[in-house]
Amino acid sequence: MIYIYDGSFNGLLTAVFEAYYRHEEPAEIRTVINHQINILDDTSYIATDTDKASRVYEAIVLKISEYCLQDIYYTYLSNFEDSGTLVYRYLKLGFSVGKKLNMYQAHESVIAVRNIVYKVMGERHRLLGLLRFSKLDCGVYYAPVSPDHNVLELLAPHFAERMGDQDWIIHDTKRKTAAVCKSGTWYMTDFDSNQYDMVKENEADYQAFWSSYYKNINITERSNINLQKRNMPVRYWKYLTEKQVN
C-alpha cells in the first residue's frame, strides 16, 4: 500500500494517523508531486485533516519529545523524495519506545532521519551566514537564495529577531517563495521577482567595500582553496556579493 498526501505537513501527519487507525503498514508515503502513477501499485489518497494531524502532533510531544517533532519537521522540509516514508518509520519506532527514542542511535530509522536532519540543519546554519542582502531603491533589503532544502521558514525567525528594524525579503528563487518581514513581523508568500533587480547607487559602494575587504583579509602564503570550498561549497557562491566578478 502506498499513501499519497498533498505535500503539507498536516497531510503527512494525517497519513501517519490513518496508518495507525486503519491498522495498515504503508510501504511508502509520498507526495502527489513525487508520485509517479503505476497501475500495479496499490495506492490510497489521504485527504488532509487538521484534526487528525493535530492529534498526531500532540501525541508526539506528549509521548515522545519536542526533539522528535523537530526531527520530523526538518525531515519533511528536506528535498528527499522518500522523506514521508522515513518520517513514518521513525514515528512508528517512536510510538513503540516512547521517550527512550533518543537512545536508539544505532537503529536504522533513527540513523536515516538523523542524517537528513543534519543536512537540513547544516544548510540552515550555513545560510544564516551566507545570505546576502542588498538594499533596494525602496529601502527594502533583498536576499536571493536557492537552497537544496526548503529552509526559508527556518531562516526567517533569525533575521526577524536580528534585523527587525529593517524591512527585508528572503527570496527562494528555486521554489518561488519568499519570507517577507515588514515592521518586525514576517510571513511566507509565493514570490516571483523580476522587478527587484534594480539596486541603489549607494549599494555599489558597500558591495565594493565588502569585496575589497574579502580580498585583503586573505593570506596568500596560506592559500588553501580546497578548504575554502569544503567550508563554502561552490553552489552557494551564486548569490555571494564577494564572489561576483566585477
Binding site: 537512545m103 544564516l128 533569525h158 534585523m163 529593517q166 565594493a208
Partner: protein
C-alpha cells in the same frame, strides 16, 4: 585618504590576527536596535586561505610606535599608514551587518602615540556603536598591553569578547622579538579581565540586572614557528591559560615571514601542519579530558607531524587498549582515536537499549580507519593487525589501505587473531 584606501590598508594589516570566532554570546536585541549574538557563532564567508570570515576584522590604525620584529606593522617597516575615525568604523560595521556580510566587529590596533590613547579611541568606537547606534551584534576588542585598567573595565561593558595577545610562547622570545612588551604587561590585563568576569558573575547572583562583562570571555593568540619553543612548552602554556586565566580559546598562528632580511627570524614557509597538530592537541585539552603532560612528555617534546595527537597518544599507551565498546566508560571512549564527542555520546546512549557491533559504529559516525585498532565489539577485534605492531602506526597514516597490506607479505603473524596479544613490555 578615502574609506576604500583605509579599509584596504587596515584590513590587510589585521589579517594575521587569527581569532575569527563569534561564539559564546547570546546578547539580545533591543527594540529599535540592530543585531544579536548567536551562541554558537556564525561564519559569513571563507577566504581563499580557507579561513572563516565572521567579523569585520580591522585595525583602528597601523601607525605603530612599537617595533616588534615578527609584525608587519612594526615602526621600521616601510608601508603606507592609515587610521580610521570612530564614525567610519561605526558606519562600516552597521552597513556590513545590515547586509549580513558579518556577525560583528573585531577591532584591534597598532599602538598610536601610547597605549592609553589607542585604547581610548577603540573603547570610544564601540561605546558609540552600542549606545548611539544601538548595535547588539558581536564585538571582539583587542586589549592594548599597558593600557590603563579603567579603560579595560570600560571595554568589558561593551565588548562580547576581549583578548590580549600573548604573542610568543616565552618571556625570553618576547624580549628578543618584542622588546617593548613583556609578560607582565600581557598577564596583568588578562588577570584583570578574568577578575572582572568572575566579579560580575558573583554580582549576578544577588542582583537581577547587572550589565554583562565580556560575556563571551577572553582569548589570546601566540605565534608558532618564529622562536624555538617546543610543542610541550606551548601546550603547558595553553593549559595554564585555560586553567588559571579561564580563557575560552588560545589561537595558534603559524609564523608567516614578514621581512626577508631578518637575521633572528626564520625565512621559511609557515609551519601549517604543526599549527594544525597544535589545534588538535588543544581540542584534546578542552573537550577530551587530556592533560598536556599526557599528550607530550620530556621524551616526546614535539607532536608527531605525520599522526594526529590522539592516535599518537594511543600508540604510546597500548596497555589501555583495546577497549570493549559496549562496556568502557564515556571518558575512555572519548580517548579512542577516530571517535569524537558526538559519536561517544551516541555510543553511550545507544548501548542502553542494544549491544553494538562493528557495523553500528560506522553508521554512528566513528572513523573506523583509526578506531578499528583500539576497540573490540562484543569481544571481537576488527583491527586485523596486532596493536603493538609497527604496522598500526603506518595504518593510521593517511594513505594506508588495510586490504593492500593484507596482500603484501609484511606481517602475517597476527592477521587472524581475534584479540591482539599485547606484549608485556609496555
Amino acid at each position: 585618504m578615502d574609506i576604500m584606501d583605509k579599509l584596504q590598508i587596515l584590513s590587510a594589516a589585521a589579517k594575521y590576527d587569527v581569532s575569527c570566532s563569534s561564539s559564546g554570546s547570546s546578547r539580545k536585541n533591543m527594540p529599535g536596535g540592530l543585531g544579536n549574538g548567536h551562541q554558537s557563532g556564525i561564519c559569513h564567508s571563507f577566504s581563499e586561505d580557507g579561513r572563516c570570515i565572521s567579523l569585520l576584522k580591522i585595525l583602528f590604525s597601523n601607525d605603530c610606535i612599537f617595533n616588534c620584529a615578527y609584525c608587519v606593522n612594526r615602526s621600521t617597516n616601510d608601508l603606507p599608514r592609515a587610521s580610521f575615525t570612530p564614525e567610519e568604523v561605526v558606519q562600516l560595521t552597521m552597513n556590513f551587518y545590515r547586509r549580513n556580510y558579518i556577525e560583528g566587529l573585531f577591532l584591534s590596533s597598532a599602538v598610536v602615540k601610547n597605549p592609553d590613547h589607542t585604547m581610548e579611541l577603540m573603547v570610544n568606537t564601540i561605546e558609540k556603536l552600542r549606545l548611539e547606534y544601538r548595535f547588539n551584534g558581536y564585538i571582539h576588542l583587542k586589549v592594548i598591553p599597558g593600557a590603563n585598567p579603567s579603560l579595560i573595565s570600560k571595554a568589558g561593558l561593551y565588548a562580547d569578547r576581549l583578548s590580549v595577545n600573548i604573542e610568543l610562547p616565552s618571556n625570553k622570545s618576547l624580549k628578543l622579538l618584542a622588546p617593548q612588551k613583556n609578560t607582565d604587561s600581557i598577564l596583568k590585563p588578562m588577570n584583570l579581565i578574568k577578575t572582572g568576569i568572575i566579579q560580575r558573575a558573583e554580582e549576578h547572583k544577588s542582583f537581577r540586572r547587572v550589565p554583562a562583562f565580556a560575556p563571551a570571555g577572553q582569548s589570546t593568540q601566540l605565534i608558532v614557528g618564529a622562536t624555538p619553543e617546543n610543542d610541550l612548552s606551548i601546550l603547558r602554556l595553553s593549559e595554564g591559560l585555560y586553567n588559571r586565566y579561564k580563557l575560552k580559546r588560545v589561537y595558534y598562528s603559524a609564523y608567516v615571514p614578514v621581512s626577508s632580511k631578518s637575521l633572528i627570524l626564520p625565512n621559511s614557509a609557515p609551519p601549517l601542519l604543526r599549527e594544525h597538530r597544535l589545534y588538535q592537541a588543544d581540542w584534546l585539552l578542552r573537550f577530551y579530558g587530556f592533560k598536556a603532560d599526557e599528550i607530550l612528555n620530556e621524551s616526546f617534546q614535539n607532536l608527531d607531524i605525520s599522526l594526529d595527537p590522539k592516535s599518537d597518544w594511543a600508540l604510546r599507551n597500548p596497555g589501555i587498549f583495546p577497549l570493549e565498546i559496549n562496556k568502557a566508560d564515556y571518558q575512555m571512549i572519548l580517548r579512542i582515536p577516530g571517535i569524537g564527542v558526538k559519536t561517544a555520546q551516541r555510543i553511550v546512549a545507544a548501548r542502553r537499549v542494544q549491544k553494538l557491533d562493528y557495523d553500528d559504529l560506522k553508521k554512528m559516525g566513528a572513523v573506523l580507519k583509526r578506531a578499528r585498532y583500539f576497540i573490540t565489539c562484543k569481544g571481537k577485534y576488527h583491527g586485523g593487525i596486532n596493536l603493538d605492531s609497527e604496522l598500526v602506526r603506518y595504518g593510521l597514516s593517511a594513505s594506508f589501505k588495510l586490504e593492500e597490506a593484507n596482500n603484501s607479505n609484511w606481517e602475517q603473524i597476527s592477521m587472524f587473531q581475534p584479540v591482539p596479544a599485547l606484549s608485556a613490555s609496555y
